[in-house]
Amino acid sequence: MAAACSLRVYRSVLKELRHLQGSEYTQSMAYTHLREQFRNNQVTGERHCRAQREALHTSQVYLCLLESTRLHLDLHQQYHARGERGPDEVARLVGLRLPTQPGGKGWEK
């Protein structure tokens, strides 16, 4: 149970790393370090059960940090990073649309 859970967290962290560093992420320090940590904890026996649980929790926290930072940045760039919006865009944000007149409003050239 715990082993399956830690494998899942490990793979998710690698996925985030890949997102951050591109396809060459296997050459990064973080990758090497995480792989080493994961393997060390895998072979530690029942005696170090507590250490294993702590390592799992720490890796979950790290996963949460990477994931939340990515999602927060995505939302930031989508909504807050582009400066001032036009009236029609503001309207669209709250699910409205500015009225349009099919034949034009009469004063366009």
């Binding site: 990064s28 250490a51 926290v61 949460c64 940090l65 927060h72 989508q78 807050h80 944000l93």
Partner: protein
């Protein structure tokens, strides 16, 4: 509704103008520092971004076994001009990963671990351990999970079901009395409880305390922060419990992505960074590694 839109736009415009004085203030600061010959690493402020000026990020072990971050061949410095050093390899790698992850511009508002290291190294408010502990424990008097509402019934029940188990856990774990209250004055927290926590926090080192205080500041709750640091709660659980009323209102009125999700992910990222910083800085983390190596 439509009449509101132009005024909304005007508000945005005013707001962006209000940011301008900040920019000019930064220029002044820069002039000031160059005249006094203080070497200052150029970090942006919370909103500005800097162009990325390096390609490779590496770490190296310097004097006294401390780890340094190298951007190409230059050593990273703190905003205060000190050499950027961290006590162990894991933290150095995590910080290096933050710098490595920046694409074209440096987004300092996404680099929480770097920020925490800078705080610990520069200690901009010149506080010692006791002052940090007092500041952290102040949050106990206004702890999120101690203040209960009397209506609406749904929220009353939610607070009881979600917050009581954590309160029970911390009271048993530390053998203290905290309690909760419906009054705006909050519960009377006994002096012994504060003394117990004060002694417990005294066993943390300076860096870990910076991380823990940051978590408490984010969650506005000592109880939830201890739950997280003692590995009783995950970050997701702690953040959910800290935002319980907001989550209740979202259930009722709907979720607005650019406000609710935005805040939640930011809170999660900051809380996770603070907790990770506290774990990685704790002496036991370095000790354990030594035991495993021997």
């Amino acid at each position: 509704m439509f009449a509101m839109l132009p005024s909304l736009c005007r508000f945005h415009r005013q707001f962006s103008r209000a940011l301008l004085p900040l920019v000019s203030r930064q220029v002044e600061l820069k002039l000031l520092s160059s005249s006094t010959h203080v070497q200052r690493a150029k970090y942006g402020n919370a909103t500005s971004e800097r162009k990325k000026f390096y390609r490779d990020v590496t770490i190296s072990q310097g004097e006294g076994g401390l780890y340094e971050i190298n951007l190409d061949r230059k050593k990273l410095k703190t905003p205060g001009g000190k050499l950027f050093t961290v006590p162990n390899e894991a933290l150095a790698i995590a910080v290096a990963t933050e710098w490595d992850a920046q694409k074209d511009t440096l987004k300092f508002y996404t680099m929480h671990l770097t920020t925490l290291c800078n705080t610990a190294l520069d200690n901009p408010t010149h506080r010692d351990k006791d002052q940090i502990i007092s500041a952290a424990l102040k949050f106990l008097d206004t702890d999120t999970v101690c203040y209960r509402v009397e209506e609406p019934p749904g929220l009353v029940e939610l607070q009881k079901n979600e917050w009581d188990p954590v309160l029970d856990w911390i009271e048993r774990r530390y053998n203290v009395v905290i309690g909760s209250s419906f009054s705006i004055m909050g519960p009377q927290i006994p002096e012994e409880t504060k003394e117990t926590f004060r002694q417990h926090l005294g066993s943390y080192n300076f860096w870990s305390l910076i991380g823990l205080e940051y978590v408490i500041n984010q969650l506005k709750s000592v109880v939830l922060s201890f739950g997280l640091i003692d590995r009783h709660l995950t970050v997701e659980q702690a953040v959910l419990l800290a935002r319980l009323e907001e989550e209740y209102q979202i259930q009722r009125w709907g979720n607005v992505e650019w406000a609710h999700d935005y805040d939640m992910y930011e809170l999660r990222a900051r809380t996770a960074a603070g907790a990770l910083f506290a774990y990685l800085s704790s002496e036991s983390a370095t000790m354990k590694k030594k035991i495993l190596q021997d």
